[in-house]
């Protein structure tokens, strides 16, 4: 299991944060102003789209100014009583041990409907008389629910960082992971993320983890998609789907065609189903989906596609009964598609040796590649004398000999013996 890079490379200090320097500067000034007495606005309200670094900024402020960090999120302030429970904390500037304190109320968007109204009112009351800095975070500060709250707050907007800024951040990660990354490749991931640093880092991990080099070709296939949902979230919907319809929906959201999506699912099922029975069921579903693909081929009736989709999505999702996932399991690009080109070259080599055998042995090249080449390989690896003789007799070139020995020294020895 790997650690998620979004966690591993989460900024600790303000200078590691990507973008939004203006808002961050204002926030720092406001926090500093608390040292000179109570400011007019007792709370800062950070708002903006997901993944732009709001929460992490507050954490970094606490870190850089050595403040006691108190964090509450949606579940902690649904009702008035719940809010009152931490109101006491906000009434004092600093802890018993002389540390200054900063309070973060995250995910205010999580307050919903009428039942939480009391919550917003209670928060307003706490903020009004707070004796230490309180930071509020929501995606949209202009939601009517927050109208009573806004007047007490310093409003700071967080915008999506530019692709260049995101790419810089990705580059830093690559450096510490020991990945040599092409600038183009990183820029491409950055652009695709649309300024969502978290998803860019997730994509980078999925594409680059364990690699020594990351080139444009490794990432460019992402470009076939123009919709926002990355293949990874689509896969998550299939592999962890809770309802048939949500699993099936994945097909509409994916920007790859059904066959390619099938490959993605087929590749990744084993690492996400760790219970043997679940795995067998999931693979079985894929096998049935494959049968329907065959039926489409033989009848040319594409209406069977619906059953392919049923089995490869919902069928897989509902195979999950006992499987647990622990940690972060990366999604892998379909290996057999990658392998196809590699093994094509290998088979071409076997066939060209087969052709040489054919000229001597009254046997088809296809059959020679399958039936004779394996024996040649053993001979070439063990008996240079015999190998040299056979190479001469079959008129093999050096590349073929190299393939059969799989070893440079042995190849050289054989070529030498051939004279």
């Amino acid at each position: 299991m790997y650690a998620a890079w979004t966690v591993k490379y989460r900024p600790k200090s303000l200078n590691e944060i990507v973008g939004n320097s203006e808002s961050i500067g204002k926030l720092v000034d406001w926090v500093k102003s608390w040292g000179k007495g109570l400011p007019k606005k007792r709370a800062a309200f950070l708002y903006g789209p997901p993944g732009t670094g709001k929460t992490v900024t507050v954490e970094a402020v606490a870190h850089d100014f050595s403040m006691e960090f108190v964090e509450k999120n949606a579940s902690d302030y649904r009702t008035e009583e719940a809010v009152n429970r931490f109101a006491g904390l906000a009434s004092q500037y600093g802890s018993l041990f002389g540390e200054k304190r900063i309070i973060l109320l995250d995910e205010l968007d999580g307050l919903t409907g009428t039942s939480d109204r009391g919550g917003v009112k209670a928060i307003s009351d706490v903020v009004k008389d707070a004796n230490c800095p309180v930071v509020l975070i929501a995606n949209n500060a202009y939601d009517p629910r927050f109208s009573g709250l806004r007047v007490y707050c310093l409003l700071l907007e967080f915008k999506r960082p530019s692709a260049g800024e995101v790419a810089k951040c990705l580059k830093r990660i690559c450096e510490s992971e020991g990945i040599q990354a092409e600038e183009e490749a990183l820029k491409f991931i950055a652009q695709r993320s649309g300024g969502d640093v978290r998803s860019a880092v997730n994509d980078l991990q999925a594409l680059g983890q364990g690699k020594k080099k990351l080139v444009y070709e490794d990432v460019s296939w992402l470009g076939h998609r123009d919709r926002q949902d990355s293949i990874f979230s689509v896969l998550r919907m299939v592999l962890y789907g809770k309802t048939c319809s949500s699993a099936k929906q994945a097909v509409d959201m994916a920007d790859v065609d059904v066959d390619m999506l099938f490959e993605w699912i087929y590749e990744n099922v084993p690492s996400h189903f760790n219970d043997a029975h679940d795995l067998a069921d999931a693979m079985d579903s894929l096998a049935i989906a494959d049968i329907y693909r065959g039926r489409i081929r033989s009848t040319r009736d594409w209406s069977f596609l619906r059953y392919v989709i049923d089995y490869m999505t919902a069928g897989v999702a509902f195979a999950r009964k006992n499987s647990r996932t622990s940690g972060w399991v990366p999604f892998k690009f379909p290996q057999r598609i990658q392998m196809l080109s590699r093994s094509k070259a290998e088979r071409a080599m076997q066939l060209s040796i087969g052709n040489k055998v054919k000229h001597r042995n009254h046997i088809s090249a296809v059959r020679a590649a399958k039936d004779v080449v394996p024996y040649l390989r053993i001979i070439f690896r063990n008996d240079p004398q015999m190998a040299a003789g056979l190479a001469k007799w079959l008129v093999l070139d050096e590349e073929m000999i190299g393939y059969l020995t799989g070893n440079e020294e042995k190849t050289e020895a054989i070529v030498k013996l051939m004279g």
Binding site: Y266, A280, Q335
Partner: protein
Amino acid sequence: MSFEMWAEKYRPKTLDDIFNQKEIVDRLKSFARSRNVPHCIFAGPPGTGKTTAALCLARDLYGDVYREHLMELNASDERGIDVVRETVKTFARVKSIGEIPFKIMILDEADNMTSDAQQALRRTMERYTETCRFIMCANYSGKIIEPIQSRCAPFRFTYLPREEHDRCLKQIAEKERVKLSADGLSAIFEVCGGDLRKAINTLQASAALGKPVDAKVIYSIAGKASPADVQKMIKTAISGNFMEARDQLRDMIQKYGVAGIDIIRQIHTELFRAEVPEQWKIRLADVVGEVDYRLVEGADEEVQLSALLAKLVEAGEELRSKK
């Protein structure tokens, strides 16, 4: 220094050299004597002497210059209809310039020809009977279309019996100065099942190790030479490692081009020797049969076979939980 593939070096040159398939050889000899050959089908498993018999017949007919009167085509490599239209026809219609008025065309692995090509061939055979006689070699005569079968004299080749197999290999071992022990000889027969080409290749590869050839050497060679190490894959799956088993499957299919149908049939053989709960064996046989059928119908080999591997993982799991 001279080295050849032994399977070629020791291939019989004339019909007299062939010491098995007695009835077939006798009939072929009578063809050679009367200098007339009908169209023939040589059907039988690989390594039983079909091509050899055809080549020997040609040599007995034409003498050492037999190559001038003979064409060998391999349907696995050139199986399309164009080949029949061009290559075969051009060869067949030109009259031979010897005492014998016809040439011989050996169509090897003819069961791999497309049926279109076979249809075209049927007319060619008919039209140019005067100038060309066809010998079709095939593993299964059933895959050759009826009209061609009815125009040909059928010959059925069978695997070499044990004594003849042993005699042949002992002879080669002696001439090549290879120490071949009795258990080594039995091992070759067990591994190759009377396929003489495979047996000789196995012997040569074993000799390359430079040790006396005994059963142990033969088994290790056979294991290395067979890209479809199905037994190992089954073991890997039963031990619970699905990912690795699937990788092995991938190698077989993609790297070595082993046909899914061959893999599944080998799985069936191995299954009953494998360490799975007894009641699972028959359940799995049903799954294997189903996958076999699906593959025949044209389903994706890797997807179907890996679903089967997942079942083996499941069986292994059950086995462990009982212990």
